[in-house]
């Protein structure tokens, strides 16, 4: 997700620092970025010169110090509140007090995260959607202490990426996760109950409701482990059974079938992440 954001932002001509924990992480990021750009080039989305431009504007580093001069920092670490809070504190330690700090979270409380920070007024949720390059919506989530200035700054930034901000007050799952997580979860239930084939479930939602991807294809892209994790967070937060992850979904995750990233989820994928025909049923 962080990589997709970096690719998108650099694609609009802005300089990006991409910070990760280890050199190995960065090596992987470099390869993935190269691959993503190559795919866009092959589909005429960018030119060779634009690809070079994007690569040249992204600086990859493991040094926190590099964030010092950034006008905006967005964290995109694993969806665990304590981890995110720790990262926000580390960001605050290097940037100026005015720098707006965004959290790319789909389910967690901005107010709670901001409580760990010194200047909680400049902490804001900026929920980008996967795949970042093509998904146009960004949920802008206000915590209790987030100021108007912070919101305006974040929205202006999102518009400069030619994306559309939607404002959300803090609530578990905001708009998109709250609506889509149960849809994907219920699609898995349909499949495991033998009500319909995976293809027909996806086709029904694509042909019937104009989804560009069916709920099971979407789950594969999301990562089934991420999906389970986010459903768990929503379930714990709300104690509402409609968010309880499907048992079948948990089983797939335990079997290591996590979706595109392991080349197998509900469908099978090639090394470029393109769907292979067929795939394994239940």
């Amino acid at each position: 997700m962080g990589l997709g954001m970096a690719e998108t932002i650099a694609g609009k001509g802005l300089d990006v620092i991409l910070l990760d924990q280890t050199e190995e992480d960065l090596e992987r990021a470099k390869d993935a970025l190269e691959l993503a750009l190559q795919k866009r080039l092959a589909k005429w989305g960018i030119t060779e010169a634009e690809k070079k431009g994007i690569l040249s504007r992204i600086t990859m580093t493991t040094e926190w110090e590099h964030l010092r001069d950034c006008d905006l920092v967005v964290e995109s670490v694993w969806e665990v509140l304590e981890d995110k809070a720790e990262v926000l504190q580390a960001i605050e330690a290097v940037v100026s007090p005015e720098t707006v700090i965004g959290s790319n979270t789909a389910t967690l409380s901005i107010t709670e995260m901001a409580a760990y920070c010194e200047h909680s007024d400049r902490i804001i949720g900026m929920h980008f959607h996967y795949p970042v390059v093509t998904r146009e919506v960004v949920e802008v989530v206000r915590g209790l202490k987030t100021t108007d200035r912070t919101v305006a700054h974040a929205e202006q930034f999102i518009r400069s990426l030619e994306k559309t901000p939607v404002r959300v007050f803090e609530s578990p799952g905001y708009i998109t996760a709250r609506l889509m997580m149960p849809v994907m979860n219920e699609a898995v239930n349909l499949l495991s109950e033998g009500v319909a084939s995976k293809e027909d479930i996806d086709t029904a939602m694509k042909a019937g409701y104009g989804f560009t991807l069916g709920p099971l294809e979407l789950a594969d892209r999301f990562g089934l482990d991420t999906l389970v994790h986010m459903l768990d967070v929503l379930f714990r937060e709300t104690a509402d059974p409609r968010y309880r992850p499907s048992a079948h979904l948990r089983k797939l995750v335990r079997a290591g079938r996590l979706g595109i990233k392991t080349r197998e989820g509900f469908y099978q994928y090639d090394e470029l992440g393109d769907k292979l025909e067929g795939g394994v049923d239940l």
Partner: protein, 408 residues
């Protein structure tokens, strides 16, 4: 009178300072990467050449930097910014409102804003230049010269698309044409070159550069041109497709799963000479590759030549004749091979190319034999000079009006 001609892109600013009416260029310059920490400002006079790399955050700052260079003691061109008497701006799209260049006032800026929809990449950038100039040199007259204006003389049956008429009424969807300033400049040179009065001539003007368009010019007025509502229509270009069957696009979107943006990029940046050859969109390289035996480059060249020639044929039919066929812009002025292949395939018309003049000649010239039925010419374009002339004309007109005694 010192006239600054400005061409603003989204992150660039090209300029030339003219001494009018002598038409002398005092300095030429270019600011690139506006908005970056390492913006580049290069400039050139007869005696000096300079280049600065520094942070330039917006167009206002870029213009201040330009003024600083113009007034620097080192160049010694101007003593103060007040020595600039007028500014001429290139504006890409004038919509239907502007058939002529015009002095910029509030109404004009509003009308230019109204055309943002039609030229989303260019007009906002042009407008930034106008606003920045107003901020940096308030009160100095500014003139807008539109790429589309020259083609506003096209009759309705030529500029409308055969689509539901309501689309024209709602959104002004129609053909506008571009490169108008260039077509106007080169056609205005024709009488000097061929020694005939413009009002009696049927001219086909081929502006062939990175982008390319042809214009059919009758009695000095554009009656048709190959670019349409956007600069994508018409002949094949360096990286743009030109005309294609619109249903192909629907087919490709479906087969390749493309987004609107990908489709637009494919047509604008991955097609034309580049898309066919797979090597380059640059005509010089295409010719080089072709001579080395690269079959795809040869194919790209032939398609390019063929599509231009088809348009020439169409315009001969459109005007019921042609007296002058002229070539201009990067490729049109420099590729003797392309001109030769086009003209050799027009022998039915009685076109006789003078190979010597075509290949060895330089600059503005006739390249046909005296007994050719159509006079062939090469006329280097100069859009900046045209903008300077329009600006000079409008501003002196303005001053003369102000100097008139009050009406009795």
């Amino acid at each position: 009178m010192n006239i600054l001609v400005v061409n603003c892109g989204s992150s660039s600013l090209k300029y030339q300072l003219f001494d009018m009416p002598d038409e002398r260029v005092l300095v030429k310059g270019n600011v690139e990467k506006i908005g970056a920490e390492d913006a580049i400002h290069g400039y050139k006079t007869d005696a000096h050449e300079g280049k600065d790399v520094k942070p330039i955050l917006d167009h206002k700052e870029a213009l201040r930097d330009v003024l600083a260079v113009l007034t620097s003691a080192e160049l010694g061109i101007l003593t103060s910014p007040a020595d600039i008497d007028a500014i001429g701006h290139r504006v890409v799209h004038g919509g239907e409102q502007f058939a002529l260049s015009t002095v910029i006032n509030e109404e004009v800026t509003r009308a230019i804003r109204d055309t943002y929809d039609l030229a989303p990449l260019h007009n906002p950038a042009n407008m930034q230049g106008i606003e920045a100039m107003e901020a940096v040199l308030p009160g100095v007259p500014q003139v807008a010269v539109f790429d589309t204006a020259f083609h506003q003389t096209m009759p309705k049956e030529h500029y409308l698309y055969p689509l539901p008429y309501v689309l024209y009424q709602r959104y002004k969807i129609r053909r506008y044409g571009f490169h108008g300033t260039s077509h106007r400049y080169v056609s205005s040179r024709v009488p000097h070159v061929v020694g005939k009065d413009l009002s009696r001539l049927k001219i086909i003007s081929c502006h062939i550069g990175n982008g390319a368009s042809l214009a059919a010019i009758e009695n000095g007025r554009s009656v048709d041109t190959s670019m349409g509502m956007t600069p994508l229509e018409g002949v094949m270009m360096g990286t743009r497709s030109g005309d294609v069957d619109p249903s192909v696009l629907e087919f490709v979107i479906r087969k390749e799963g493309l987004s609107e943006e990908q489709l637009a990029n494919m047509l604008n940046k991955h097609s034309g000479l580049y898309g066919v050859s797979g090597v380059t969109g640059d005509m010089r390289q295409i010719e080089e590759e072709r001579s080395k035996g690269n079959a795809r480059a040869a194919l790209a060249f032939s398609m390019y030549e063929y599509r231009i020639r088809k348009y020439i044929g169409a315009y001969i039919a459109a005007m019921n004749g042609c007296d002058v066929l002229l070539f201009t812009a990067g490729v049109g002025e420099n590729s003797a091979t392309l001109r030769r292949e086009i003209c050799e395939n027009l022998s039915y018309l009685g076109v006789l190319l003078d190979h010597e003049a075509n290949e060895k000649g330089r600059g503005e010239r006739i390249i046909s034999k005296p007994d050719s039925t159509v006079t062939l010419c090469v006329i280097p374009t100069n859009e900046e000079l045209m903008i300077a002339r329009d600006t000079h004309g409008l501003v002196t007109g303005l001053q003369n009006r102000q100097n008139l005694p009050p009406m009795q």
